[in-house]
């Protein structure tokens, strides 16, 4: 097997090629798409999705799915927002602990329902998607947390940093992606998640504590959604009980699946997921630039997701054929 085929066998290569082709195609019509400014726009568009996608990847690898993350994000953001509003004297970085803690708690609750009562994750998290959103309305009395209550230091994290003015939020997502890579590939527990997803029966027989792993992936998914929650307040400057996090789960799951994570469990990489997130980010920022009207953007966005999956499948099958022909 030569190196080229090896690279093409990797799912990430297909997505990477698609990103490059897509950007070049857009750049042919709109040269301003291939500028640093444009890169900045894309990078500032994707952080929340990327944070959520790292958690969702682990959940999918473990053969589950977490549909509740949009509401987990909303609830965590609202708790933190209310803390900022009613206790403005509190040291603001504590908000990170609170958001991540609340998110992890909601994720654990999903995990408990799934492991304790042996309920399917898709149904449990569909339920908590509504439950957590409802709780967000209740605790906030359906009122928005306005811009003036969000600490300006937190908002600045999404705008700048002393390092070439690259916003802190960009460094944060790079760190999270690296940490997730290390956790998934180089820790015992991380590998157990993959083992469980590939073959749950065999995993149990080999002594992996299935319940513990399941609880862990949901807690991680919730914690990351909580982190995305405080970063929502940072990025957009407000927290709204109905808008904040609404539809987040669909963006995240689309990105993760485009990134090559199998919904049948056991398969997925951090690099693929990151590329999936970037592809969707490029598409979202290119459509308005191309002057495509809002009415057709949704349809095109959906079509791009499906085309990306089809191309990816085509590329890999061809690579497999080439290799088997040589063998």
């Amino acid at each position: 097997m030569n190196t080229i085929s090896k690279i093409f066998l990797r799912r990430e290569a297909g997505i990477f090629v698609m990103i490059v082709l897509f950007c070049l195609a857009v750049g042919a019509f709109k040269p301003q798409f291939l500028t640093l400014q444009s890169l900045r726009i894309v990078l500032l568009l994707v952080p929340l999705i990327l944070i959520g996608a790292m958690g969702q990847m682990l959940v999918l690898v473990a053969r589950h799915v977490d549909l509740s993350i949009g509401s987990t994000l909303g609830f965590s953001a609202m708790v933190v927002g209310m803390m900022f509003k009613y206790y403005p004297e509190i040291w603001w970085p504590l908000g990170f602990l609170v958001a991540i803690g609340v998110g992890a708690g909601l994720g654990l609750f999903n995990g408990f329902l799934i492991t304790l009562f042996r309920l399917p994750a898709i149904i449990v998290t569909l339920g908590t998607l509504n439950l957590y959103r409802g709780l967000t309305y209740i605790i906030s009395n359906a009122k928005q947390i306005d811009r003036q209550y969000v600490p300006s230091e937190l908002k600045a994290m999404s705008q700048t940093s002393p390092i070439f003015g690259i916003p802190w939020i960009i460094f944060m997502i790079i760190a999270i992606a690296l940490l997730t890579y290390w956790f998934a590939m180089h820790t015992r527990v991380g590998r157990q998640i993959f083992a469980l997803g590939s073959n749950p029966v065999a995993a149990q027989l080999r002594g992996i504590n299935v319940s513990k792993i399941t609880l862990l992936v949901f807690a991680l998914s919730g914690a990351l959604a909580g982190l995305a929650g405080i970063m929502y307040a940072s990025r957009w400057g407000f927290v709204n009980p109905s808008n904040t996090g609404s539809g987040f789960e669909f963006q995240v799951i689309a990105a993760v699946v485009i990134g090559g994570v199998s919904i049948n469990g056991g398969v997925g990489t951090v690099l693929g997921t990151v590329l999936g997130v970037l592809l969707l980010g490029c598409v979202s920022s290119a459509l308005p630039l191309l002057g495509i009207p809002g009415t057709t953007q949704n349809a095109i966005y959906g079509a791009v997701i499906i085309i990306a999956l089809l191309i990816d499948r085509g590329v890999r099958q061809r690579a497999i054929k080439t290799i088997s022909a040589k063998a």
Binding site: Q37, R147, G237, N240, N243
Partner: protein
């Protein structure tokens, strides 16, 4: 969701009943908003609450979780069953509610559209309360934009959704004003884009405007989510001296942008006064002191003389209010 809204509403209602306990049988007024969690409606509701406290009526606010065409129907039905005397509503659709509103009126309930009307279906409600004569919105916004850019250069509009009737009326009036008033002959509208009232989408549309039209000097965003998103883009790119953002915004959401110089001025009306007027009008009609006839007039404390215009429409103010650094702190909505 329904249960929760009713519970919260009941809490409000109870509070009102307690304060107005001496009244024998208080008039029950409900206001059905477009959706929950929309800060704009907090302000309208405040006007309803305060007026009901003064006049001694029982007020309840309910709203569906999402602003869909049909999502208000079950809420209207629940209020009919509860036996309210007055339904105020910000309709999510100009025609999907006809039948259920007719049902309410057949039961003797006074139906008012507040903050938005059933355009083309006015016969299905008794009267409408709008903050301002909406034909003024377009010209007022163009004039404000012009004053910020010395009446020359490329400008763009960042709107909400493509099908929002009020947005489209205003945009048509802006285009008309730009085309026909020689004062604005040097202002060129280069694009109209839609951010769907989502911060993410409004931001990408705003960024695309800046990338596509390097000579852009102004953006009008006649929607509260859009103007905040546009202002945030201009703030983070530090181009407030080059690209001027204005539009319709809430003082509570825009205060920071005005104070740091990102936005020099924007407009709106007082949503609070809509609720205040609605209660005074409804109680007047119910006790016979106000006749709901076109051309009629009546007095409302703090608002002065209100005239019932064509199609039984009333406005709380004649022109839009302009907010800037000098007055922004006078408004708490």
């Amino acid at each position: 969701m329904l249960k929760k809204s009713i519970l919260i509403g009941l809490a409000f209602g109870l509070a009102t009943i307690v304060t107005g306990a001496f009244a024998q049988d208080p008039i029950k007024i409900v206001y059905i908003g477009k959706n929950t969690g929309n800060p704009y409606f907090d302000s309208i509701t405040g006007g309803f609450e305060d007026a009901c406290q003064v006049k001694g009526c029982d007020f309840l606010f309910v709203a569906p979780p999402t602003a869909e065409a049909t999502s208000q129907i079950p809420f209207i039905e629940a209020q009919i069953q509860r036996g309210v005397n007055v339904i105020g509503i910000a309709p999510n659709s100009p025609d999907a509610l006809n039948q259920v509103l007719d049902e309410a009126r057949a039961k003797g309930i006074l139906v008012l559209t507040v903050n938005g009307d059933l355009v083309g279906n006015e016969s299905h409600r008794d009267a409408t309360i709008l903050p301002v004569d909406f034909t003024k919105t377009g010209p007022n916004q163009v004039e404000l934009m012009g004053s910020m850019i010395n009446y020359e250069g490329d400008i763009a509009i960042l709107s909400a959704t493509t099908e929002a009737p009020d947005q489209n009326t205003w945009i048509a009036a802006m285009k008309d004003t730009l085309a026909n008033n020689p004062k604005y002959a040097n202002m060129h509208l280069v694009a109209t884009v839609y951010g769907d009232d989502q911060p993410e989408k409004s931001t990408t549309e705003m960024e695309a405007l800046l990338a596509n039209y390097p000579d852009l000097v102004g953006v009008i965003a006649p929607t509260t989510v859009g103007i905040a998103a546009a202002a945030q883009v201009v703030q983070s790119r530090m181009i407030a001296d080059k690209v001027h953002v204005t539009g319709l915004g809430l003082p509570s959401e825009m205060r920071d942008f005005v104070k740091d110089g990102t936005v020099s001025a924007f407009q709106l009306w007082s949503p609070y006064n809509e609720g205040w007027l609605a209660v005074h009008f409804a109680l007047g009609v119910l006790d016979g002191s106000i006749k709901n006839e076109v051309g009629g007039t009546f007095e409302v404390p703090n608002l002065g003389t209100i005239t019932i215009n064509d199609l039984n429409a009333m406005n709380t103010q004649a022109e839009l209010t302009t907010f800037d650094i000098n007055n922004i702190d006078d408004f708490n909505f």
